[in-house]
Subunit: 348 residues, 2 copies
């Protein structure tokens, strides 16, 4: 970026899995930072984190922390955002919030820059970063929707444990070793730390991400359904989701079924709409076993699409396999992208 | 079983992952065995395997091996079945074949006893055991189809490595340990031993099971599509599948979307059709986080169903999560079930 203006930036939740990726991404992108403040709970305050070679001491986040801050990236859990984001806004900061606290608030834009960048300018101080599994799906489907219209989405997810934070990463590592050693696996975090029961994730699949809603869907599934409609400005789009946690450290994968508005399309038409689409990499050639996997997508910012197939029975039906690093495009990178749009367009 | 008649039984592929489960299941079920012959390739001949405390030496499978055999359970790969199943039949044996060699042959019944037991009696010497991922799905959907009719199935699978045999099991174990030790992972077997490229399965997801067909689907996906229609006698049923291999040792899971013929159904109606259905266990209570997982279903013969939800947009749409031990109901147990039907009904 060739900005001359520089900004006072704060990262809230700096010691978490996403917070650390935010700091890395700000450095990788050479974001125009005047000062960087790293904030956390009192528990993690005092830790030191490197930014471009310089050690920064993490401070406890308080309302006063946001004095003089221009942009605050929040990723410390919904309750922290509910408490501190308004305090940051009151002090003149623009908040990019990576929790579910404000996503469905009609006053708050919910943004994936490849899809609805223009919504950013309607912000009243807070811009919400969508749920990780939603972001990669809408980024992959937007070029198809734009070219051919979209009637329907049915998605089944294959989600990494890092979406549940560093404790879940440690749990997968420890359980895997226990299993390989023939020992019992200790389950204390997944599927949901605060829920009543815990099950082993190593060499297993858990069809629960986040808590259950009254209607039998999990909150993660409802996020995919509701957020997709909001981001795509498509209230009539039919969306359904089944979300599954897997023994994968990084990158979510998704088996996505869609029905297009336009008739008579071929796989080639879909390929054309995805080629050169912003942020999308098409990796799709069955003849050479070319398709994305969680490991191949890890540490990359793009959304990877493969296995595009025409449904054999439904004329407008297609299947896709969508993979992306859940901590980058699913969280840190999408947040930094929003911040880049804020400064590039002077939308602060 | 309270049979007085006893049978000469052969297991072909006795040293493989499925073969071993067949021998265990025959013992567990107290199958009326007069003599048990264990057959394999020349490479594994000479190994000793225990059956009910008695050591049996594995012999190389030849056409002559089947002299005097009443029932032969085959699970040694399609090319062995193509070569030796007709030789077994010629010598008076009835073959239950757990490979894809004869499944779509119109002369060969393809059977999941809970669905189409009666087809067994049409056999001309060979009965085919369906693909593992197909078996558990049709077993779970048959009670719903019978009660309410079925228009459509879209399935995304979460499949265990044991479906690719003992080498794949070893590969997952070794790669997992390498990854945990911070070493490079060696990939030589998965996704398909005989295919050109291999990718790590540990902490990953591979959207390829079996080789690719001309139409962009894998052979595994086409098996699910074609076999489901044949077993359910439902040529007009719309079926589509995306098959994914995961770092799980045992049990396949499936995210299944269906549309019923009958209108106005509730989750309770589906629950009622599944309760007491043969071979099915309903484990579905979001309030108590009750749902099946690959680990909870392992080593059990039943098909477990949970996460039954009504689609929020499609009036006749429902979602289910179906889990079963791929080596038991998906292979060994279904084959032994067919053999039990053969002797119980005198259909030999």
């Amino acid at each position: 970026m060739s900005q001359t203006k520089q900004y006072n930036v704060a990262v809230v939740g700096a010691t978490g899995a996403v917070g650390q990726k935010m700091i890395e991404t700000l450095a990788d992108r050479d974001f125009p930072i005047k000062s960087l403040k790293l904030l956390s709970s009192s528990r993690s305050a005092g830790k030191k984190i490197k930014y471009k070679g310089e050690e920064i001491t993490v401070e406890e986040a308080t309302p006063e922390s946001f004095e003089g801050i221009d942009i605050a990236l929040f990723s410390a859990g919904g309750s922290i955002s509910k408490k501190l984001a308004p305090e940051a806004v009151k002090r003149g900061a623009v908040v990019v919030d990576n929790t579910s606290a404000y996503r469905m608030d009609p006053e708050v834009p919910l943004v994936v820059p490849e899809v609805n960048k223009e919504d950013i300018k309607e912000h009243k101080g807070i811009i919400a970063n969508p749920n990780c599994s939603t972001i990669q799906m809408v980024a992959a489907l937007e070029p198809i929707k734009k070219a051919f219209g979209l009637k329907r989405i049915i998605v089944s997810t294959y989600q990494a444990v890092s979406g549940s934070g560093t404790e879940a990463i440690d749990e997968l590592r420890e359980q895997s070793q226990s299993f390989l050693d023939g020992e019992d696996m200790k389950a204390e975090i997944l599927p949901v730390k605060g829920d009543k029961k815990h099950f082993p994730i190593a060499f297993n699949a858990l069809p629960q991400i986040d808590t259950f809603e009254e209607n039998g869907y999990t909150f993660e599934e409802m996020k995919m359904i509701n957020e997709t409609k909001k981001i795509m400005h498509a209230e009539d789009l039919s969306v359904s989701a089944t979300c599954v946690r897997l023994p994968i450290f990084t990158s979510h994968a998704e088996s996505v079924y869609i029905e297009t508005e336009k008739d008579g399309l071929s796989v080639k038409d879909l390929h054309q709409s995805l080629t050169n689409a912003p942020g999308i990499v098409l990796e799709d050639d069955p003849a050479t076993q070319t398709y994305p996997t969680p490991l191949s997508a890890a540490e990359k910012r793009e959304v990877f699409v493969g296995r595009v197939r025409k449904d054999l029975d439904q004329p407008n039906g297609f299947h896709l396999w969508v993979v992306s690093d859940n901590l980058l495009k699913g969280a840190a990178w999408n947040s930094v992208q929003i911040a880049e749009q804020l400064v590039a367009n002077d939308w602060l």
